[in-house]
C-alpha cells in the first residue's frame, strides 16, 4: 500500500492532472496579460500570439494612467478589501469563539441564525441596504462598502472558524485561565494563533469577491472619489466602442494587489499548519 503511492506511474499521473489543471486555470489570465501588451489590431488578429517587436504596444497602460484617477481607484479598492477582511476576521473569530466556547441559552439558535447568511445572497437586500445608507448619509463613502462586505463575509467566517475553534483543546484554554489570562488574552494569544490556517482560508475566500465586486460600488459608491478599481475600469467599456487595450491593461494591473495579498495569506496558511498545535 505504502509503496504503491510512491510508484513513478502514480506520481506522473498526479503531476499530469495538476499541470493540466494549472494550464486551464492560468489560461485566461495569461491571455489577458499578453494581450494587454499588444496593439489593437494584433489583439483581434492573433489573440493567442505573444507580443512581437511589431505588435508590442503600451498604449493600453498609457490610456489607463492618463485616465487620471486610476491610483485613487486602486487605493479605494485596497482600503475596502483590507479593512473588510480585517473586520470579517476579527468579528467572525470573536463570534466563533463565543459560540464554540461558552454555554449560553440560544447558543445553537444563534449559530444557525449566523449560518443562515451563507445561504441567502446579500444582494437580495440591495434596495433595503441602499435605503439604509441614504438614511444614514453613508452613500458614496467607502464605509458603506466596508459595512456591506463585512456583513456579507461574516456568516461563512463564523461557520468555518467556529468549527476550527471547537477543536482547540479545552485543557489549553483552562491552563490559560488558571495562569490568570483574561478571556481576551486566551482568545488573542492562545486560540487565534492555533486557528491561523482557518483564518487564512476565510481571508482568501472573501478577498476575491470583494475585490472584484461591481454591484455594490455601482449602487452605493459610484462617485468619482469612491470608485473602486472594477468600477473605474468600466469607463473603457462603452456601449458602442470598447477600448480593449485599456480594459486588458486595467485588468492586468488589478490582478497584482490580489496576488500580493494572496501570497501574504498563503504564507500565513503554511506557517499556521507547520507550527501546529501541541497535543
Amino acid at each position: 500500500m505504502h509503496k504503491a503511492r510512491h510508484s513513478p506511474l502514480n506520481s506522473i499521473a498526479a503531476h499530469g492532472a495538476l499541470i493540466l489543471w494549472t494550464v486551464i486555470a492560468l489560461f485566461p489570465v495569461v491571455v489577458i496579460l499578453i494581450n494587454s501588451f499588444k496593439t489593437r489590431q494584433a489583439i483581434f488578429r492573433e489573440p493567442l500570439a505573444l507580443p512581437t517587436g511589431e505588435s508590442f504596444s503600451m498604449i493600453g497602460y498609457q490610456t489607463v494612467m492618463k485616465q487620471g484617477d486610476f491610483f485613487l481607484y486602486f487605493q479605494n479598492s485596497m482600503i475596502v478589501t483590507v479593512v473588510s477582511l480585517f473586520l470579517i476576521l476579527l468579528f467572525g473569530a470573536m463570534a466563533a469563539f463565543a459560540l464554540s466556547e461558552y454555554r449560553f441559552k440560544g447558543n445553537t439558535l444563534m449559530g444557525l441564525y449566523l449560518a443562515l447568511g451563507i445561504m441567502i445572497p446579500i444582494r437580495i437586500g440591495t434596495v433595503a441596504i441602499l435605503q439604509m445608507m441614504v438614511a444614514t448619509g453613508l452613500v458614496n463613502t467607502l464605509t458603506a462598502l466596508i459595512l456591506v462586505y463585512t456583513a456579507q463575509g461574516l456568516p461563512l467566517a463564523v461557520f468555518i472558524l467556529s468549527e476550527f475553534m471547537r477543536q482547540v483543546s479545552d485543557d489549553l484554554k483552562n491552563a490559560g485561565r488558571i495562569d490568570g489570562m483574561s478571556e481576551y488574552a486566551i482568545f488573542f494569544k492562545l486560540v487565534l494563533p492555533l486557528v491561523r490556517p482557518a483564518m487564512a482560508t476565510v481571508a482568501v475566500f472573501n478577498m476575491i469577491p470583494i475585490w472584484n465586486d461591481l454591484w455594490f460600488p455601482l449602487i452605493l459608491a459610484p462617485s468619482e472619489a469612491t470608485k473602486t478599481l472594477t468600477l473605474g475600469s468600466q469607463v473603457f467599456i462603452g456601449q458602442f466602442v470598447t477600448d480593449w487595450n485599456a480594459v486588458l491593461s486595467a485588468l492586468s494591473l488589478a490582478i497584482l494587489p490580489v496576488l500580493v495579498l494572496y501570497v501574504i495569506f498563503s504564507r500565513q496558511l503554511i506557517r499556521g499548519i507547520t507550527s501546529g498545535a501541541v497535543k
Binding site: S169, D171, N174, R177, K189, L194, S275
Partner: protein, 326 residues
C-alpha cells in the same frame, strides 16, 4: 486549617446531574486520589475545585478561605492536565513563567522559582525549547514545572500519566511521589487506574456516578471496603464475587483462594497467566469463573481439575444492594 473543604457540592449540566452532594476535606500536605470508572465525574469535580466550572450549589474552601465565587487564578491552585496543555508558541521558560508574569511577580522571584523547578525536574537543558521539540515525558515534566513555580496551596492533577507509555508512567509516578515529599504540598490526583491510586495516595476517594462511595487510606479501602463496588474496584486481579445462600453476595480476593484437597469449590482451570512472581488461574466452578492468585510458580495448566478452598475469615459479605454486611 484544612487545605480543601467541599460542602454539599452539586453540579449539573442542564438536566444531567453529574456531582451529587460531595462532602470532603483534605488536610495540609495530604496526597488525595480521586478514583473511579470513566465518566463518574472525577474531572468535573476537579474542575469545580479549580473554578473552571461553577458548582451548581455548595461551598468550596481552599486554605481556609471560601473561594466558591473566586476565579481560577486567584484560588491558590495549580493544575496539571492529561493532555499537558502547554502553550505551543512559548518555550519551556515561557510556559512556566506565564502565570507568574500575569500575577505581577518580579523578575528576581521568577528567575529563582524557574531555577528551582527546572533543577527539581531536570529540565535545565530544555528551557529554550518549544513544546513541539520535547518528548511526551518532558512535556509532562514542563506541565508539572508550570504548576510548581506558582507555589500553590493545592496541586490538582487530572490523569497526568494517561498519555505516557508504561515504563515512563512508572518513572513519572515515582517522580510525583518524590515531588510530594519534597514540596510537602497538598495534592489532589485524579485517575481511573487503581494501581496509581493505591501507590500514590495517602487517602483514596472512590467515586461512582457522581457520588463518593468511600474515603480512606489505600489499605483501609482494600481490607475494609464499605460496599461491593469499592471491593471490586480496588485490587488487581479484582475480587471474586459468588452468590451466597442468603441471597446476597460473597467476595473473596484472588490471593485468598487456595488449591486444597479439603476445599469446597471444585472446578476446571480455563486459563493460566504466568507472571514469574505470581501465577493467576481462571477456574470455572459451579459458582462462576473465579480468579486465583498463587504466589510463585505453579505447574497447573488449562484443563486441570482443581478444588479451591478459602479461609472463612477472609470472606466479605454483601447484601442484595451491594452494601457490606459486617
Amino acid at each position: 486549617m484544612t487545605a480543601l473543604s467541599l460542602e454539599k457540592i452539586n453540579k449539573s449540566f442542564g438536566d444531567v446531574h453529574v456531582l451529587k452532594d460531595i462532602n470532603l476535606t483534605v488536610e495540609p500536605g495530604e496526597f488525595v486520589v480521586f478514583v473511579g470508572p470513566s465518566g463518574c465525574g472525577k474531572s468535573t469535580l476537579l474542575r469545580t475545585i479549580a473554578g473552571l466550572e461553577d458548582a451548581s450549589s455548595g461551598t468550596i474552601r481552599i486554605g481556609g478561605k471560601e473561594v466558591t465565587q473566586t476565579p481560577p487564578a486567584k484560588r491558590g491552585i495549580a493544575m496539571v492536565f492529561q493532555s499537558y496543555a502547554l502553550y505551543p508558541h512559548l518555550d519551556v521558560t515561557g510556559n512556566m513563567t506565564l502565570g507568574l508574569k500575569q500575577a505581577g511577580e518580579t523578575k528576581a522571584v521568577i528567575d529563582e522559582r524557574i531555577g528551582v523547578a527546572a533543577k527539581m525536574l531536570s529540565l535545565e537543558a530544555y528551557l529554550k525549547r518549544r513544546p513541539a521539540e520535547l518528548s511526551g515525558g518532558q512535556r509532562q515534566r514542563v506541565a508539572i514545572g508550570r504548576a510548581i513555580v506558582r507555589k500553590p496551596e493545592l496541586f490538582l492533577f487530572d490523569e497526568p500519566l494517561s498519555n505516557l507509555d508504561a515504563a515512563l508512567r512508572m518513572a513519572t509516578r515515582v517522580e510525583i511521589a518524590r515531588l510530594h515529599r519534597e514540596l510537602g504540598a497538598s495534592m489532589i490526583y485524579v485517575t481511573h487506574d487503581q494501581t496509581e491510586a493505591m501507590t500514590l495516595a495517602d487517602r483514596i476517594v472512590v467515586l461512582r456516578d457522581g457520588r463518593i462511595e468511600q474515603v480512606g487510606s489505600p489499605m483501609e479501602l482494600y481490607n475494609d471496603p464499605d460496599n461491593q463496588f469499592v471491593a471490586g474496584f480496588l485490587g488487581a486481579p479484582s475480587m471474586n464475587f459468588l452468590p451466597s445462600e442468603a441471597g446476597g453476595t460473597l467476595g473473596i480476593r484472588p490471593e485468598h483462594l487456595t488449591i486444597s484437597a479439603t476445599g469446597t469449590l471444585p472446578g476446571t482451570v480455563t486459563h493460566v497467566e504466568r507472571l514469574g512472581g505470581d501465577t493467576n488461574l481462571l477456574v470455572e466452578t459451579a459458582q462462576g469463573i473465579l480468579t486465583v492468585r498463587l504466589f510463585g510458580q505453579h505447574p497447573e495448566k488449562v484443563g486441570d481439575k482443581v478444588v479451591l478452598g478459602y479461609d472463612p475469615g477472609h470472606v466479605y459479605r454483601f447484601d442484595k444492594d451491594g452494601k457490606r454486611l459486617r
